[in-house]
């Protein structure tokens, strides 16, 4: 019997599980497929100013745990050697592969650039056969952005990894291994001078603990920055891996490749969920409390057909935004919850978290992962019956 069963292994599900692990509870995460987290840029967007303008936003239910949850997130990923920079009260400016500027909140250390005005040269490093990053385009827009007032010189350079076509994850992995790493550093050496910034697509190492950007910085004496963009997203993979590994080390149990297809209840409590494993075997898993963190349309937490949108496991009531098809309004669809993040009045030990929640449109509030992080953490706390959290809510 688990103290907490979390459905979904995206940002919100993993944070809910983390809240449980932190209190030494017996936690199980059930997941089918990798959702939107691993496809993300790896940056945690969070914008309280925009969230406050969103009517009925889940933000209002989690405000008091934001600081705590963000700190806990940083602690979790740091355990795997992945450092994040930033805090929920401020925006962090980063560059994308297109050379445009993006505001985010928590960003991987490898993307963080503290004083752009102190650099006089930018070397944009591309890879032959890798088409997701164009140094030329980056430099074109970066120069226009006005972020580098002291800029005197730019250069685009192309490293030859020695294969015909370059698969992103292969490149990220190969660059950390002996020979190619040394070749890359030797290739870059002539460009290393003081006040130089080297920008790379985010492929400097595939694992969370790979700190190739630091190594290049130390060996060459330049500043190195990774740029998010491209598909699949290596920083998104690193983030997902870091959270899962860290939670496993903390004793969280994981059940992958199993789909939750229903539940059982007794009086006003969910007593177990029904899962479908490989080969179609159905079995039940019982727990004391449950968190529904199955994501939105991409994560299959919400299913849409031409008639309606539904939440397939508990049949929670789903909010349909007005003018659904216009201006990406449909992204605000999701399940209604009470002030304790519970979607169904009759099921007192079920909590919802993440992008499945109604009234949060990540394109408009620029807070997708940040809100998932905070709601996940809070749902975990509430599910464990944390009295203080409940009083504050």
């Amino acid at each position: 019997m688990y103290d907490l069963v979390v459905i979904g292994a995206g940002m919100s599900g993993l944070m809910a599980a983390g809240a449980g692990a932190r209190r030494q509870k017996k936690v199980l995460v059930v997941a089918k497929g990798q959702g939107a987290l691993s496809l993300s840029s790896g940056c945690i967007d969070f914008n309280p100013g925009l969230l406050e303008r969103e009517e009925g936003s889940p933000y209002f239910k989690v405000r008091e745990v934001v600081e705590e949850s963000f700190n806990f997130f940083k602690y979790l990923v740091k355990r795997c050697g992945l450092n994040y920079v930033g805090s929920p009260s401020e925006q962090t400016r980063i560059f994308t592969t297109l050379g445009t500027v993006k505001n985010s909140c928590l960003v991987p250390e490898s993307m963080f650039l503290e004083n752009p005005d102190s650099y006089e040269r930018i070397i944009a490093v591309g890879f032959k056969g890798y088409f997701d990053f164009s140094p030329k385009m980056f430099l074109y827009y970066a120069k226009k952005s006005g972020i580098f007032p002291g800029l005197k010189e730019t250069e685009e350079v192309y490293f030859e990894p020695g294969v015909r076509t370059v698969n992103t994850t292969w490149l990220a992995q190969a660059l950390t291994r002996g020979e190619l790493k040394e070749k890359l550093i030797a290739f870059l050496k002539p460009y290393a001078r003081p006040k130089t910034l080297m920008v790379f697509p985010a492929v400097l190492g595939d694992l969370p603990e790979d700190r190739l950007f630091k190594e290049v910085e130390e060996v060459l004496g330049v500043k190195v920055v990774e740029l998010p963009g491209g598909f699949p997203s290596v920083p998104g993979q690193r983030l997902h891996k870091a959270l899962v590994s860290s939670l496993k080390e903390m004793g969280v149990n994981f059940l992958f490749n199993a789909e939750v297809i229903g539940y059982k209840k007794n009086l006003r409590q969910v007593t177990s969920i029904k899962i479908k494993e490989s080969g179609g075997r159905v079995r039940e898993i019982s727990g004391k409390a449950f968190v529904l963190a199955t994501g939105s349309f991409w994560g299959k937490g919400l299913r849409a057909n031409t008639e309606e949108i539904c939440e397939p496991i508990f049949q929670s009531k789903v909010y349909l935004p007005r003018n659904f098809a216009e201006d990406f309004n449909f992204l605000a669809s999701g399940i209604y919850t009470d002030e304790y993040l519970r979607p169904i009045k009759e099921l007192e030990n079920l909590y919802g978290a993440g992008s499945i929640l109604a009234n949060s449109n990540y394109l408009k509030n620029n807070s997708g992962l940040g809100l998932a992080l905070a709601t996940g953490y809070k749902a975990g706390l509430l599910a464990l019956g944390d009295g203080e959290v409940r009083r504050n809510a």
Binding site: G33, W170, E249, G251, L255, F256, N257, E277, G279
Partner: protein
């Protein structure tokens, strides 16, 4: 064979590349275009006779580890689709002797177990490995699994089970690795089950078929599947549970028989198939046995890909953590890279070695005394990269649980 390859299945693929990002082979081998490109992408073209193109280049590098399927957010059976194409391509090219041999571990096992000392000795000698490489395309440096001196069935045949009445019954499928390489795993399970008053039945079986699938011999796999299922029929009809200690055998029975191999009736058997640790964890009586002397020492756990794919979680790890003094460290380093006979082929050797680096890194970081994993071949690779002893969770449990008797 897999019946539901239709445009509709393929159209669930949103081309998000999550599968390719999770493919351990594509990560280390630039010649493998990844599961999406050789799977759904290629099939979309070839379903239409007019756009059909030649078999995808590099598909031989797929190791059927299933990580693509586990990662897919849209439920596309990527790995199974790839096995079909790969098998077709290999068949057309003609099988080499090594594929025929590796496809049925029982062929070699039955002989080797009688001359275990000799076989184990020769597979370690460099010159013989060199000959193996030149003549048969068998890898030069990857260790072969050592053969046991006595097969599991020979031990089981002479072992007297001590069970009180009223007794319960279970069927056990030992799999080739337990049968010929590590009978200790099966022995551990039988002894634990006896303590719980379960009598163990081991009917005659053939190989599960996973090695045959991995070597592109789907007809052979189907033949094994039909035989194994017919052997199980009467037990399953009575509701007797069937236990597996090998994750790959479990996955093959549970998923591949009804899925890839398209044997409809196999689906009816699935509710009775259990991973051994999963079955034990589900028994109330186990709690009392777990109050045994604790397991000491620092162990690290490797989760086999096929265990992950079979959707049962990590029950062995959970059981061990009930008894262990120090929490067992999860390595979480992904696929081991050996993938059964995959890494024993010369051209795959560098791939296996490269994937294994992740394991090595994780083991070095945690510095355990010994390693734990359910899969026999993963164990071979764990030992390859670390030199540490490797145990099946059942072995460690049995040592403590059955101590008094």
């Amino acid at each position: 064979m897999l019946k539901d390859i239709s445009l509709e299945t393929l159209n669930h693929c949103a081309k998000c590349s999550t599968c390719t990002a999770n493919c351990p082979v594509a990560k280390v081998n630039p010649d493998f275009p990844g599961p999406k490109a050789v799977g759904p992408d290629w099939l979309r073209l070839s379903l239409n006779a007019e756009t059909k193109v030649d078999y995808p280049e590099g598909i031989e590098y797929c190791s059927n580890c299933k990580n693509c399927e586990i990662a897919c957010p849209s439920g596309v059976p990527v790995a199974s689709l790839n096995q079909l194409t790969r098998a077709e391509k290999l068949k057309k090219k003609g099988f080499r002797l090594r594929e025929k041999l590796f496809a049925n571990p029982r062929l070699l096992g039955r002989i080797a177990v009688n001359f275990a000392g000799l076989v184990n000795f020769f597979t370690k000698i460099k010159i013989f490995r060199l000959i193996g490489k030149t003549l048969f395309g068998i890898s030069e440096n990857i260790s072969f699994p050592a053969y046991a001196h006595k097969s599991f069935s020979r031990w089981f045949g002479s072992y007297r089970q001590k069970v009180n009445k009223p007794k319960n019954k279970v069927v056990y499928f030992p799999g080739c690795f337990t049968e010929y390489n590590k009978p200790e795993v099966g022995e551990a399970l039988v002894k634990i089950l006896n303590r719980l008053n379960y009598e163990v039945i081991v009917p005659e079986f053939k190989c599960c078929g996973q090695p045959a699938i991995g070597n592109g011999r789907l007809d052979t796999a189907q033949e094994f599947a039909h035989f194994n299922l017919s052997q199980l029929k009467k037990y399953v009809k009575d509701g007797t549970p069937v236990l597996f200690s090998c994750p790959s055998c479990l996955l093959t029975f549970k998923e591949e028989y009804g899925g890839l191999l398209g044997i409809e009736e196999a689906r009816e058997f699935v509710p009775y198939f259990y991973e051994a640790g999963e079955f034990l964890r589900g028994l109330q009586e186990i709690d009392k046995l777990l109050e045994c002397e604790p397991i000491e020492g620092k162990y690290a756990y490797h989760e086999p890909c096929h265990l992950k794919a079979s959707g049962v979680g990590t029950p062995g790890l959970e059981l061990l953590n009930e008894v262990a003094v120090n929490k067992i460290v999860p390595l979480d380093a992904g696929c081991c890279g050996l993938s059964g006979s995959y890494g024993l082929k010369a051209e795959k050797e560098p791939i296996t070695e490269a994937i294994g680096q992740n394991l090595k890194k994780a083991i070095d970081r945690h510095a355990p005394e010994a390693l734990v994993t359910e899969c026999g071949m993963c164990g071979v690779q764990l030992n390859n990269v670390s030199g540490l002893p490797v145990y099946h969770p059942l072995e460690l449990l049995a040592e403590k649980i059955t101590k008094e008797s």
